[in-house]
Symmetry: D2
Subunit: 132 residues, 4 copies
């Protein structure tokens, strides 16, 4: 199952060239990841460990427009999992990202195994052929 | 007529206290002002000259939630006009702002009179009793 | 005594017109307020209640440049105080702000009187003639 | 030669967990890349095509602290080059990034070969063993 999350750019997101700043666009992709966590019971306890981002097209701010972020899970390990995300504008993938998330125990400041509930949760989004 | 514009917070908007940062909230209010400009023909040529903001309640990020920004015009002068804006969450006004906008000619780097089209445009939103 | 704090703009702060976005500039001014709190013992317990900002000049990003924020306290009340702040570039005040801070008890979610230590702390910065 | 650039975090950079937001930290790294461009004559004409980021340690905001971003060039191709960057706090690398930059002609909206001046410029920072 693919997760979809709607996001909105802001007028202040483009930089002086008129293109949405590369780093601010990543906040939209982050929101999609956190939307997936929202219906998981308990404290998330997740850390972003690695991010690979390909910028394919410029993104533009348009008043009131909402963009979709599509996310699938590509790998579930013992103490981490990976998602592949796409931010789409005008039916074209503008940004493609792979994020590696580590399940983390903030109390002991160290990684921890995924719980069964987490494994079941993220498995719902395991999807398709990994592009990488 | 009151203008309404829907905006979205981001997970990264709250600060370390869990409340949406005061400055980032102003970007949402800015988006509402620019949405009002969007259907005005030609280059906007507007500068924000003054902002008065009252913070009444904390704002919280919730996945997928959209907040409304309500805007009315409170004064139209020769070379400037003022709007009153409210950012609403849970049916309560969290932020109340008054913004003074100056019509500006970037070519000569100086203020300029409102055009007739601008005066007609902003007059549509002239509204109600000024709270101030 | 006037408080001075050095801040840095970022390449991504200007918007598509090449001017530093009005809301992001306020983050620099916020940093100066928080720098004043840094040497105050205990939890700050402060809320920004009101902000009045005048935008006098455009701000520009220049690599490596640091700008100064000058702050004085203009009023100390029972449960609040006010500061006047200036963000300076090229020896000119680009932004002038008055911020009203309320001393706050997050545990009871209500305002509280300034402590004696707080009153003494902020009194050090009581300064000059209030411009307003 | 390694390029070094000093940057400053902001109080509003940490998220509700108290850690500097992963996307905002990338703005600091971006500033370092743009500082390297600053002494290159003419319009830069550069696009960020790919970013690989490893997050090793949490970053914390501390009043007045400046962090260093270290950058070396790892590869110079015909129409692109790559840099390796490190954002350091407390003498530890918190973020390691590899950025692939494409030389771009905005007029024709397509990639273009590096000029001789660009090749000479970036070659000055060619450094060490490529970690990748």
């Amino acid at each position: 199952m693919r997760h979809e999350h709607l996001v909105q750019l802001r007028w202040s997101d483009p930089d002086s060239l008129g293109h949405v700043n590369h780093a601010r666009a990543l906040s939209l992709i982050e929101d999609a990841r956190l939307a997936m966590v929202a219906d998981l019971p308990g404290e998330p306890g997740l850390i972003l460990a690695r991010l690979e981002v390909d910028y394919f097209r410029q993104l533009y701010y348009r008043t009131g427009e909402r963009l979709v972020v599509r996310t699938v899970v590509t790998r579930i390990g013992t103490k981490s999992f990976a998602v592949r995300q796409e931010l789409v504008q005008d039916d074209e993938v503008a940004i493609h990202a792979v994020a590696v998330m580590v399940t983390f125990d903030f109390a002991t400041d160290s990684s921890r195994p995924l719980t069964d509930a987490e494994r079941a949760h993220w498995s719902r989004y395991l999807g398709g052929v990994t592009r990488q």
